[in-house]
Amino acid sequence: PLSKSKIALLKDRGFETRKEIAEISPSALAKELQIPPEEALKIWKTAKYGDDCDEKSIVTLSSSSSNSGVSALDLLAKKVKLRPIFSLCRELDQMLGNGIPMGEITEFCGVPGAGKTQLGMQLSCTVQIPKLLGGTGGQAVYIDTEGSFIARRAKQIAEGVNRHLVHIASSSSEPKFVEAARTLTVEKMLKNIFCFRAYDHNEQIICVEVLEEFIKKHPRVKLIVMDSVAFHFRYGFSEKYQLRNMLLKKMEHILQHLAQKHNLAVVLMNQVTTRIKSNIADIVPALGPTWAHACTNRIMFEVKNDSRYAILVKSSSHKAKTIEYIVNADGIRDVCIVGNVSNRSSARSESPSSLARKKRRTDEYR
């Protein structure tokens, strides 16, 4: 496929074999042959990919075998197709866009009793909301390192989710919505949450290592919750912080890979610790600044005088924001402001129009 003049030129400059041409870069070839880079590239490709391809296939080969990355447009299209996971606490969802995003690691830190485990259990249920109702229709993996997953409470939360869905579906006039809400029973929700109990950091790491295989066998898994990532790494590593960081990095790497390859959401719960700086005690996320790089989004839970706040402290696409939430029998919900007094004991359920609006919003981008 190369013209005679080109072959003569190559011979002239001392190129005997195809291998010699392919082993240097196109730009170096261009310099040696004193020809423009585009021509050098053509020669280089021919040398690299074989004599029997013609001009056309060389061009097609270029886009498939050389790595020119994925265009931002493709990424954007992919992202809007992936539905985020609703938490049923509208303010929390809006803080992150439309819900817990897919393909990213979202970390929740907070003081004990803030509601992290509640959120983890709740998301394990809401990830299962059928696609017809605007949800992800997936399953959940719950890696429990502290023994805080209590099935009885998960059942209560599942009942809350089911009630919520049935209420919304009934207020719409579509029988198929009602049907979809009814089929997601409490029993079904509990059967779709896979709990792994890790008693030490070794088991925790092994859990993460076997997730790839597990997800291959259960492709409907769309959420991985780790509650909490910190517990086992906060003891047994005195003087061995490098080792700890290496192990944490290993875990982070695998989780990141899983999130992106399988388009699922990874939610990590972290603890907090006190940092004393010039006599002022501050509450900071545990596991140190190295770990802080692991998550794509980070939300701090705070409790002040019986009120609970969620603060977005790290996100690549949304700005910092503080919202208030409550924990009740149904799980985590928005604060309901009725009349003069904010009524913290009742929940504001998602109105039918807003859930439909959410569905429309995700549909709009299709």
Binding site: S148, A151, Y199, I206, L247
Partner: protein, 314 residues
């Protein structure tokens, strides 16, 4: 898991190879960087990857669905006339100032635990780890006799006292060692509950303010071992804690001036926390649910009588 030997868990060529290069336990395998292992064992990247995959698949915890876990959750202890439940498999903490009734709480629970399941008890013995030498057998007998007069006749009382196994530990490392060795006792003596009264005492006395990180580390180890025991044997773990007037920032507490001792790391580790306090101007005392994964911030009135801790009906 950490100390278990590879040779026993995954017998075969790979384990033998590891053993010969001093990679003996599961922890060794995980903590060595992959490149190190490849060098030491002289195998290829691909070989290591597939060997590790097999190893991890064997060692990984088996998942259960939440639905299956629902069936497995067994009976709990409930204080009569209240919703205060002591659940199995998790750490329940009782916090309060001195004299408010923490040891009474523990002793009452010990009397309740021996009752058969049909009577609301757990039908078994109790391990009582006493770090303050505050356990009083005569008080136990008094509570049992007053609270359940029909059940606790002389014979039953004798059996009750035989079923409470008291371990005295006054130092933190003693406590942790003791907790590690409880497996045998739990199985032999049909133990249905572990009580540690109190957790705060040895840790606060052994570690001063300059050694807080070491203290937190030991606390985490203790918590981890206790949780393991609780979950493996499906029994409740009850610990007591003291209060301090220290830094208050951040704990999801009920706005009191005194906070629970032992810091935030320990607060993360306990699953349920009950706060006992004297209500000024009221006769009875108050029990507040300070942290719980399945209950709201309820408060209950209680008083201490012959029959132990009595909760008042609302």
């Amino acid at each position: 898991m950490a100390g278990r030997r590879l040779k026993r868990l995954i017998p075969g060529h790979f384990a033998d190879l590891c053993e010969s290069k001093n990679i003996k336990t599961v922890q060794d395998l995980i903590e060595r960087p992959d490149l190190d292992i490849i060098d030491a064992l002289d195998i290829s990247v691909g070989d290591l990857a597939s060997a590790l995959r097999k190893v991890y698949a064997t060692l990984a915890p088996k998942p259960r669905t939440a639905f299956n876990m629902l069936d497995a959750e067994m009976s709990s202890l409930t204080f009569e006339s209240s919703k205060v439940r002591i659940e199995p498999g998790i750490i329940t903490e009782v916090v309060g100032a001195a004299g408010v009734g923490k040891s009474q709480w523990c002793t009452t629970l010990s009397a309740m635990a021996y009752l058969p399941i049909e009577y609301g008890g757990l039908g078994g013995g109790v391990i009582y780890v006493d770090t303050e030498s505050s356990f009083s057998p005569s008080r136990l007998v008094e509570i049992a006799r007053s609270r359940y007069p029909k059940f606790y006749d002389v014979k039953a009382l004798k059996k009750l006292t035989q079923s409470i196994h008291v371990f005295q530990c006054s130092h933190a490392h003693e406590l942790v060692d003791q907790i590690t060795q409880l497996d045998a006792t739990i199985i032999e003596k049909q133990i249905k509950m572990i009580i540690v009264d109190s957790m705060a005492s040895p840790f606060r006395s052994d570690f001063d303010s300059k050694h807080i990180p070491e203290r937190q580390m030991m606390l985490s180890i203790a918590a981890s071992k206790l949780k393991y025991l609780g979950e493996t044997y499906r029994i409740p773990i009850v610990v007591t804690n003291q209060v301090s007037g220290g830094m208050k920032k951040g704990l999801a507490d009920d706005g009191e001036n005194l906070t629970a001792a032992l810091g935030i790391t320990w607060a993360h580790a306990v699953n349920v926390r009950y706060r006992l306090q004297n209500k000024p101007g009221k006769e009875s005392m108050e029990c507040l649910v300070s942290k719980s994964p399945c209950s709201a911030r309820l408060s209950f009135q209680y008083s201490i009588a012959n029959a132990g801790l009595i909760f008042n009906e609302k």
